[in-house]
Symmetry: C2
Subunit: 335 residues, 2 copies
């Protein structure tokens, strides 16, 4: 009889173990300072998952979209995608003497800042397209994987994927634990981000929406393979973000997070109508621990103020910035 009781207890403990996060009172957002932003996130999730409440959303309606650069990881001094393309250009010129003498490749390879600062942004953009294409899809993935394991962020010396924001990763996990499907909607190349989205954020390849290159199908003895051309198929930024969300997801998101004017249309798209939705704008205001800038986010901040969206202060809301960085006390603030 005693043994049966023990077995029963073990069995029930086992069952309870599968009952999920509601059982444990553990903080799901330990890298966020206590305060209004953290409270409001939890209150929102609680209200849309309460089946008897007025704001309940069916699981299939729980679509969350996150910008990548500057929202989930550091985007300074340059976008990760650009860092990759410049690294590839440095490799390309080694094997192509003609390219080595062609601008802006020469300046990129030599890190000629004087030239780069005055170069046309279109020329630089086109150079990144050349570096981002011209291979099979598989060869591209192999290059990106190798680069991710070796290239480091110039200011910190860390691998690029070490510079993800721990509080935002916790937010993604928290949303998924509550039945949300989390997507990344990025201006970077969709195939580029797919190379680290699962390990860095737990977001699988088919939940990345991004810019894309023109592709063509090429025959090989093993069958057809995808070849990446050096021209852009879709630039997933500004208005193109909600348009691509409609094409690929086919539903309006109820949670959207961004950090710049490039994300404004996506945030507005989530803000439509009278149903529950959460709009989060990350503000880069922590020069000590990350970077401080509002450039390129002026319109988004004006709209956030007008519409009462949630602005996340990296300085005041983030207990830590990166997975490897230490926690810090909440700074004294007049808020």
């Amino acid at each position: 009889m005693k043994q049966v009781r023990v077995q029963l207890i073990l069995l029930f403990s086992f069952l309870l173990g599968f009952a999920g996060p509601h059982v444990a009172a553990k903080d799901p957002l330990p890298s966020w300072h206590d305060g209004k932003t953290k409270d409001d996130i939890q209150e929102f999730v609680s209200s849309v998952t309460n089946p008897t409440g007025p704001h309940y959303l069916q699981p299939e309606q729980r679509i969350a979209v996150f910008d990548n650069d500057g929202t989930l990881l550091t985007e300074k001094p340059q976008y990760m995608q650009v860092a990759f393309c410049y690294a590839r250009i440095r490799e390309m010129v080694k094997h192509d003497p003609e390219l080595a003498q062609t601008q802006p490749y020469k300046a990129i390879a030599e890190d000629d800042q004087a030239f780069l600062e005055t170069a046309s942004s279109r020329d630089l953009f086109n150079a990144t397209l050349v570096a981002n294409g011209g291979t099979t899809s598989q060869a591209y993935n192999e290059m990106v994987q190798k680069w991710l394991k070796t290239d480091t962020h110039p200011n910190s010396g860390k691998l690029h994927t070490d510079l993800i924001y721990q509080p935002m990763v916790e937010l993604l996990i928290f949303l998924r634990a509550n039945g949300f499907k989390t997507y990344i909607c990025t201006g970077s190349d969709v195939d580029f981000v797919r190379n680290f989205s699962q390990t860095a954020y737990g977001v699988p390849p088919e939940q990345i929406i991004g810019s894309s290159m023109d592709y063509e199908l090429k025959e090989t003895p093993e069958g057809p393979v995808i070849h990446r051309k050096t021209t852009l198929n879709y630039f997933n930024n500004k208005n193109n973000k909600p348009l691509n969300i409609q094409r690929i997801i086919g539903r309006r998101p109820v949670f959207a997070a961004g950090n710049s004017d490039g994300d404004l249309a996506m945030l507005q798209f989530a803000d439509h109508g009278t149903g529950p939705s959460f709009k989060l704008l990350v503000r880069h205001d922590d020069a000590n621990r990350e970077y401080a800038y509002d450039k390129g986010a002026e319109k988004a901040h004006a709209m956030a103020k007008e519409k009462n969206w949630h602005v996340v202060s990296m300085e005041k809301d983030f207990k830590r910035i990166y997975p490897h960085s230490p926690n810090r006390q909440k700074p004294g603030s007049s808020e």
Copy 2:
């Protein structure tokens, strides 16, 4: 003690109930005749889900793509998408006297077969684009929903969504029960198919890959809405199917099903390399219960023969065609 035993038995029964389809020996494909095709499907699924076997695929690799028209439902005498567009043209001309006198709208509205048979296919296609756009996304969905509930297939008098192939629906369910993520990859408009994919096939909106119209974002007092233009953004057919699969899923499918040359590139894409994959081509060879035709599928059948893909005979492999139709004995065959 007796009570405890009863509780234990109840508890274990409960646990076993969650152990899934392996417990019950129920036929997962009851509308398929016994035979090689059915055996091979089950053998394939069994081998790629056996974690100790040589062909095991991780759940995230189990991507299955299905064409829609002619693969999951009847596409004769015309594609469902075209039937919808023609129905809308009949409505449009009622409120637009000028359009009512313009070809090919006039001929479509009047069902003038003599004109339609000689009209240029480009003119007819452009007319369907006009009928398929020019509204907000929401208004489009409402139109499609209304049409789905009222319009009937000309030959059978059934609703269009009654003409789905029951054996293929069972195949989708069987694959999902074994950890596959099932996608529809269709030449029809992605938003059109989203209006019935969940109820007809259990496939959610975000797992539909299709053709798409140009969109634009329009401001309204409630926020930005998607407006459908009358021009085509992407024609999801032939080579564009695998290219779009790469863009949207970012993985190579391991199961692909189609019925025409429009699906050939998608089937070849799944056939790449040395890993396990299943390629299924539906043959329309049942003039009594559906339609019999190979037109537009000649290349796909030639390749299926060369590559030893699975060709499904609707006459011999399907015990029933539609959910509402009766089972039929397997016809005598020389196979």
